[in-house]
Point group: D2
């Protein structure tokens, strides 16, 4: 928990630095492209996470603050409809300017201004600190997106370039498989009000009634998923949701993202390059649709987010974002923050699925057992995986 | 509850007849068109509800049964992927043949064959009876769709023809407004196992924990919704989900479906024709997106389906399908039926919202307090409405 | 040539009657559907060809003329942007009303009113007569469209219904094949100013310089086209225009429209029903793209419209609209008529190809050797064919 | 005319160098993006014009030639369907690799290899020389595309960056306006067979018959076009082709590309940055649709390509590609070259319009009076203009 301004400032600097370290292995060209709508160019992430501090803090609280460039608000706003116009999302990859160099200068400018603001006395210090804390967590979220967007950018290039030759995407779970059994009863979920940072969507600790259930202590492996493929899982309509079936047929989906058959053998593209499929490792890059179909085939199911949370201490998590059966809807008594920051989470609470845990791409100290991640059910460029329940 | 074969047969005949009565006011041309993907031509409903009996019962259980026409399975299958090919949904309105006359002949043929099957002794009688019961409920569902599809077909014709001049779409709730208050605790929901017919998706009576809440004893009226419009509700981005905001802007949505401004005054198209907007009547034909935005504007919320169910006896329901905040996901221990009928409900359990209650278009004895209706959040051609909670 | 009002009136009545005779074999349902954008529902043709007389003649020249229905202008306008709003083209098949019966009443009403107008003395008689002549030719064009649209409607129905069991789509050209050779020099083309009716686009008789060429006295047969298919014509990219190659691949085109392989044998759907492919008959229902690719494969070419016209008397024509290599552009000194009728032809003079001749579906006395028909190069629901040149 | 290998080699080196000079002002990021399908990233042009020499010459004629990189054929093929798979056109802007640096290395490698091939004796020298000549002209075409694509990339960036501050897009035509009058008769057009390089599509000098016509000695200016805008030209449906009308309304076109109203005054983006609209200069960046509508409004027309060619010496041309009324179809006796190079021109001869002349972006010695340029009628990112005829 952050308790002093100094600690906050330190965390701020660390976070700003880490974002740039993630981009170190990139060529200038890699910063620019947007091969698909939901992926943003790395340079956009660099600018947007910086703009956030300028938009929500510096221009309100720093006396005589000069915007680095007046047009950047237009270029780097993401989805905050209430703070003005923005570049259409699909258009991000069409912008060659501002250059990467200019964006790094923008970062330095804003980082310094914010450090000054935090260092000098200010009547709004506690409000500012709480906004800086959000800004830091916001940037950590973009660090994970940076990694997964970079993977998408390189992994969809026909040359399949390496990002970092020693990047490790997973470690094998070598312990024995067991079912964790939980008894029916009333439990509590949601973030307790303990002063630690959390998002609005996980707040409101509350009681829930849960039936008996069992949950696996291990993630589904590549080997297990391969069995599903080989058993014709992608061809058996009865395993799939109706819109999932349309999706796999329209998009011609027959395996997880980044899986390739080369000379008859399965390979996977990873951030350390193309590799033979590692059978023992936890499966990654599947959609909710596929996670659900796989669970049907196993005659089991996915856990709800509630089930996951109440027994999360009984298993290791953090390698993969784990799809749950739960739709992303508000907790009882959910309150959206006032103003533009109210757009952070609440407005996405429809047609998305909750994922729990965290992944190898999640930034240090970013996730926690009450964290509610969410994506549309067809997306799979995150490090998503499966933990079965029954 | 149906207890004898005779009762079942009677209900079967009543149901078949009612379907045809609904179509009585139509011109032949009205049976044919499909102005939008989610609306089916009336003649398709007539054929499809008939094909259901042929496909799932007659051809399996009636000795020497001759299909009325071998190609009808192709023409009238809806979404049962596992029983063979079908006309693409968007293509239903392109088929002028079979003619309406032929489809009525098909109905008579199948009705007679099924009546015979039920009348004569048969070793599979109890299995057959249970399938007939599903077929009857299936046809009742299509009766409601018939009415709402007819409304769409006529209501989107520039001539705005009348369906039935005395059709009453709602009655004013004249009683006083009150908040029903429910106390925190453990409750039970889901259909008890009492032998009465219900769908798979409502089965599995189970305990839930519910927090204190209040729910309105009245539906939102046209007058209240008009206030929201006049207050600029459709222009205030902070009230809307992100994808709802895209939807209202892309589709240019500014009022409920069937509302028109004519010479400066609001009118609504109804099954009895175009009428001045009746302010006192319950609102109809809004999407979940609009229901949610309205609730935000009122600084309240929509109830969950659980909340709705545990106190449904405290208010009148049945005029409007009431949008809930709940996503359509399986109940604990949900089991999909084996085979093609397993496609009935389970495969839609993603990206849809639950509606509770029933509407003026719902067939007699079709709905009940545990009934889980579901639609995509943007759809509004059903008689959908709003009941607020807080 | 029409020389008297009586002759004109006679031709008017004949034409109105023929339109209705074409529709005789239809069921009510067949009048309603629009399976693809470029096909219009038969009831729309019936109404539109009637509206033309009302819009351009009756309401201007008939004293105290009452519109049959004020909304019909909106429903039956086709593309005359300058005379007011209209139903979006793709929406024509969504309109169940006005009913077929009502449209026939509309026809009778307008036919009578127009007959009266022509019969009674009127100071604008010669202007009116010339407009009636256009209206008659306009309706003849819609007669051809009616037949081809009906073929599309029935031929894309999975039940493949028969239109008229004795309809003959072609006759075999039994005479010997010969090349008609034309010598280089100056020729004249375009409709001479002889008082006979013609469209604006063929006016302006003018000189052209033509090189030596040869043109076939026979149309390409189904047998010849089958050779092209069997030789892999649809798979050889070098035979096709770039956008044609995209088109055949996107649309999965592998044969002329209405050709089907059934149990290993080629069949064709005709207005008299499904039949084994008649090898000797002239090919029909191919796009310009296919006509061009076929000619490339034969190491020949399509004639220009100029070449076709200057030697048209040397061969029989009239069974198929013959694709030419000529783009549809204005003749020298082309003048668009003033006002809304100027929209008749001129505004289509881009991105279309000229077809010459006429077809089995063309109405009697409608075409002539200077007639310039035109369609987009991908369309093939007309009776289109190929005559080779070199 | 090139007569010696030395001259050819010199031209080759000059051309290769000029391509790179055009890219000098670019930032790395500018090389990468593809804001719209018809624009290619500059790095793609650099690679593609290099690949052309490798694909069609080096790998066939240079002994033991090693491809620079085997995957580049896949990455840099444009539209030669017959030489193998290629990156989908819309995907070019999604490729961050190969890097710009690598592509420059590729250029150097191929330039050297080709220089060697030309220098050393080779039995196929004359065949090679003729292919090198095509390759040089091909690269010159891409030089023009480079400039116009760069303009599009920068001109659609919200920051509107300058390409080169002294780039001059046009010079005012200060001489007096006159009509050039040509008398009816037989003329000759097409490239004479004089040994000079030309494309296949302009070959075949042939006679044409032309009617009396007049053609303007000046291009239409910005001032004249502004009159058309101010007179409501974009709102008058009768001036437009049907598909042009759809286009301006769907795309919301109300002015030439790169025209902006800023604080009530017209500006134009140019390669030297944003500037007040220069009224005296020749109009640029309009589609054929707009050129046609403008000519209609002036009660004149566009010249045919034939008319343009026979009197081209009577006026100055070369500032703007001038839209003609002529569709791009083959000349009499047009012969497509054998093999993949046959894909160069012939396969585009449908649905495009011919432009004559050349523009400020055209490379030195690239165009000539018989040159047939062609584009789809809606495109306007080239320096296109209008010369009226009557």
């Amino acid at each position: 928990m952050i308790t002093t301004t100094t600690q906050l400032l330190e965390l701020f600097h660390e976070t700003r630095k880490l974002t740039e370290q993630i981009c170190k292995p990139l060529e200038i060209e890699d910063y620019v492209v947007q091969p698909i709508e939901f992926v943003s160019p790395p340079k956009w992430h660099l600018g947007h996470s910086t703009w956030f501090f300028e938009e929500f803090i510096l221009q309100h609280y720093k006396k005589d603050y000069q915007l680095f460039d007046e047009q950047f608000a237009f270029v780097f706003n993401s989805y905050y409809e209430s703070v003005g116009e923005k570049v259409v999302r699909t258009n991000r990859g069409n912008l060659s300017r501002p250059t990467v160099k200019k964006i790094y200068a923008y970062r330095t400018y804003v980082t310094q201004a914010l450090a000054e603001l935090l260092t000098n006395s200010n009547e709004n210090l506690s409000k500012i600190e709480s906004l800086v804390e959000i800004g830091i967590h916001h940037e950590k979220q973009h660090q994970e997106l940076l990694l997964t967007d970079i993977k998408y950018i390189l992994g969809n290039n026909p040359l399949l370039p390496v990002y970092q030759s020693n990047f490790k995407e997973s470690k094998t779970e070598t312990f024995d498989h067991q079912w964790v059994n939980i008894s029916e009863g009333v439990y509590e979920v949601g973030k307790p009000d303990d002063g630690e940072f959390c998002y609005d969507n996980e707040k409101g600790r509350h009681k829930v009634y849960v039936n008996d259930f069992s949950i696996s202590n291990k993630l589904v492996t590549n080997a297990e998923y391969l069995e599903f493929i080989n058993a014709g899982g992608y061809q058996d309509v009865l395993l799939w949701h109706a819109e999932a079936w349309d999706w796999i047929n329209t998009e011609n989906i027959k395996a997880p993202q980044y899986w390739h058959v080369i000379d008859g053998n399965w390979h996977q593209y990873t951030l350390s390059g193309l590799q033979p499929l590692n059978l023992e490792e936890p499966l990654a890059h599947i959609s909710y649709y596929e996670a659900f179909a796989f669970s049907q085939w196993k005659k089991m199911r996915l856990p709800t987010e509630i089930e996951w949370e109440i027994c999360n201490e009984k298993f290791n998590w953090g390698q993969r974002w784990e799809w749950t059966e739960s739709a992303y809807t508000p907790y009882p008594n959910y309150k959206k923050p006032e103003g533009a920051l109210g757009e952070y989470n609440g407005k996405f609470m429809v047609n998305q699925k909750v994922l729990r845990g965290g992944s190898v791409a999640t930034s240090p100290n970013h996730t926690r057992c009450t964290y509610r991640n969410f994506f549309h059910p067809n997306l799979r460029w995150q490090f998503t995986g499966i933990r079965l329940a029954k």
